[in-house]
């Protein structure tokens, strides 16, 4: 059973509070990406690509009981780190909790100001795709 979203958000916020320097923050994001479990090759296909990113992001979701699980990969180290954060927050949650989540953690860890100011990283597109999966499985 996954922790509640709010608890994961708090953990993330605490972890990111440690960094003053943006480059350090990126280094941490990249490390989170490196720890993301590999995505099975059958999902590294165009059907699973998230559109709207300058880099490639593959996202796969499946349902187990009343919970939805996400798996992802990217050809970009930075984007992989961002999707790893989203997977950490949303994977193992109930679809309704994903659909209704206001995504406060993105602002709390200053993901939005520093990352989504670059539209090209596709943060919005990734979140949208996760919510679409959740809606489909709800």
């Amino acid at each position: 059973m996954s922790k509640p979203i709010s608890e994961i958000e708090n953990e993330l916020a605490e972890e990111f509070d440690l960094f003053d320097d943006q480059m350090d923050k990126y280094e941490y994001i990249i490390d989170l990406g490196k720890k993301l479990p590999p995505l099975a090759p059958q999902y590294l296909q165009d059907d699973f690509l998230v559109k709207g990113c300058q880099s490639k992001v593959w996202l796969h979701a499946y349902i187990e009981g009343d919970r939805i699980f996400f798996e992802a990969d990217s050809n970009s180290s930075i984007t992989k780190g961002i999707i790893a954060i989203l997977v950490r927050v949303f994977s193992g949650q109930k679809p309704s909790e994903i659909i209704n989540n206001p995504l406060a953690f993105i602002d709390r860890i200053q993901l939005r100001s520093h990352l989504s100011s670059q539209r090209s990283n596709g943060l919005t597109a990734m979140i949208q795709r996760m919510k679409t999966y959740a809606t489909a499985f709800a």
Binding site: M23, Y26, Q54, S55, N75, S76, Q118
Partner: protein
């Protein structure tokens, strides 16, 4: 290298020049901005910004035919800008048509000259270096007319293979359209020879000069090119303005591009007669402040001197190339012998996007990706590059910072 720096001090007073560009003096992510994305768009000197400001604060008015004072001033300023452009590229004023940019210049020629003169089985030649804007309009024309698009191959260094080009030329070749300078790699093409060979085969030539204008002297008559396009925003003027040069004899034969005001002589519901050159291709109220800004920008670089600019930028390029190659696993993409100030590169298997993001965090603006040249990237077997493109307001110190920034990013990404 220190000696070289001293020489360049006498070439250009870059510190003084940088004072002309207000935008350069700011912090990005708490670091001094280092702007190395000049091939995408250039920054604007105060004299250009002031020209636009003066137009709107002192004499904004629609041009031509106005009987009042402001209309006279605006018309005079706009037509003076045309004169400046004509002198700058060594053309007659009636051969200088204001358009939105290089893309529109190419589309205009494809849609008018192309539609009128291209027939089934004709051939149009472009090169493997092409920006999408010099591929798609010709492709559309070929599809419509049943013509064939041929591509001059390049070497791994990014140089056109001239012998292969000569083999492509034949009596069916009607148009050759190539870039003066490659935006993605910086290759300077032998356009004079390309034009001469095309003429011998009976074809006309369009030169995409977008990347040439900011860096070197140009002369359309000396090159004997038939059509020529460039964008104002790449040569220190506003966005949304550009030039199509065409030989008068060719422009005269072409039907108009768009219909509307300005481009007509006389309109009745039965029949319209068209205006003379250059107004024939300038339907509607144009980008007046853009045109004026282009005149101001060309005056600005001519005051500095394009020979000096070229020489200084060449030093920057050589210095940057040498410094970049000190980075482990860094590979320069585009090693043409004759090259403009573009540094395209890859570091190991690092995705250019990741490097671009981490350089941005350090205040350094480069461009990453395919640079609107997907076929070129396919030819080189890569998905994209990191591109640092230089202007005369860039410095040796900025290139040092770029190298430091890349090294820092690489340690994080490895």
């Amino acid at each position: 290298m220190i000696a070289e720096k001293k020489i360049s001090k006498t070439l250009l007073d870059v510190e003084q020049i940088r004072n002309d560009f207000p935008i350069l003096h700011q912090l990005v992510n708490k670091k001094p901005l280092i702007y190395l994305d000049n091939a995408a768009t250039s920054q604007k000197p105060l004299t250009v910004i002031n020209a636009i400001n003066n137009y709107y604060t002192q004499y904004n008015s629609n041009i031509h035919r106005g009987a009042h004072h402001l209309a006279h001033l605006a018309t005079e300023a706009y037509e003076n800008a045309r004169k400046t452009v004509a002198q700058h590229i060594n053309a007659a004023e009636k051969e200088v048509n204001f358009v939105r940019g290089t893309t529109e210049a190419i589309n205009l020629v494809a849609a008018t000259y192309g539609r009128k003169f291209i027939t089934k089985g004709d051939e149009i030649i472009i090169s493997a270096l092409e920006h999408h804007s010099n591929i798609v309009p010709w492709q559309m024309l070929c599809e419509e007319k049943g013509a064939l698009l041929k591509v001059i191959p390049i070497t791994d260094d990014g140089e056109i293979i001239f012998e292969e080009y000569l083999k492509l030329l034949n009596e069916k070749t009607k148009i050759v359209s190539v870039p003066y300078i490659s935006n993605a790699l910086g290759t300077i093409n032998p356009v004079k020879e390309i034009i001469a060979a095309a003429h011998k085969a009976g074809a006309i030539v369009f030169i995409d000069a977008a990347q040439a204008l900011p860096h070197q002297k140009v002369d359309v008559k000396e090159l004997d090119c038939d059509f020529w396009g460039f964008s104002g925003h790449k040569v220190f003027a506003a966005t949304g303005i550009g030039i199509l040069y065409g030989k008068e004899s060719l422009l005269e034969q072409m039907p108009p591009y768009m219909g509307g005001g300005e481009m007509i002589k006389n309109v009745t519901f039965e029949k319209t007669t068209y205006n003379e050159l250059p107004y024939k291709f300038e339907a509607g109220t144009p980008n007046i402040e853009g045109g004026i800004s282009l005149g101001a920008a060309l005056n600005y670089i001519n005051n500095i001197g394009l020979d000096k600019i070229s020489a200084y930028e060449h030093e920057l390029l050589e210095y940057g190339t040498e410094k970049l190659l000190e980075i482990d696993e860094l590979k320069i993409i585009g090693r043409a012998k004759n090259k403009s100030s573009v540094l395209s590169f890859l570091v190991g298997d690092i995705l250019p996007y990741d490097l671009g993001v981490l350089l941005n965090e350090q205040g350094i603006a480069i461009r990453t990706g395919h640079h609107c040249c997907q076929p070129l990237m396919n030819r080189l077997g890569i998905e994209g590059t990191c591109r640092a493109s230089l202007a005369f307001y860039n410095t040796f110190e900025e290139l040092d910072e770029l190298v430091k920034g890349i090294k820092k990013a690489v340690t994080i990404l490895k």
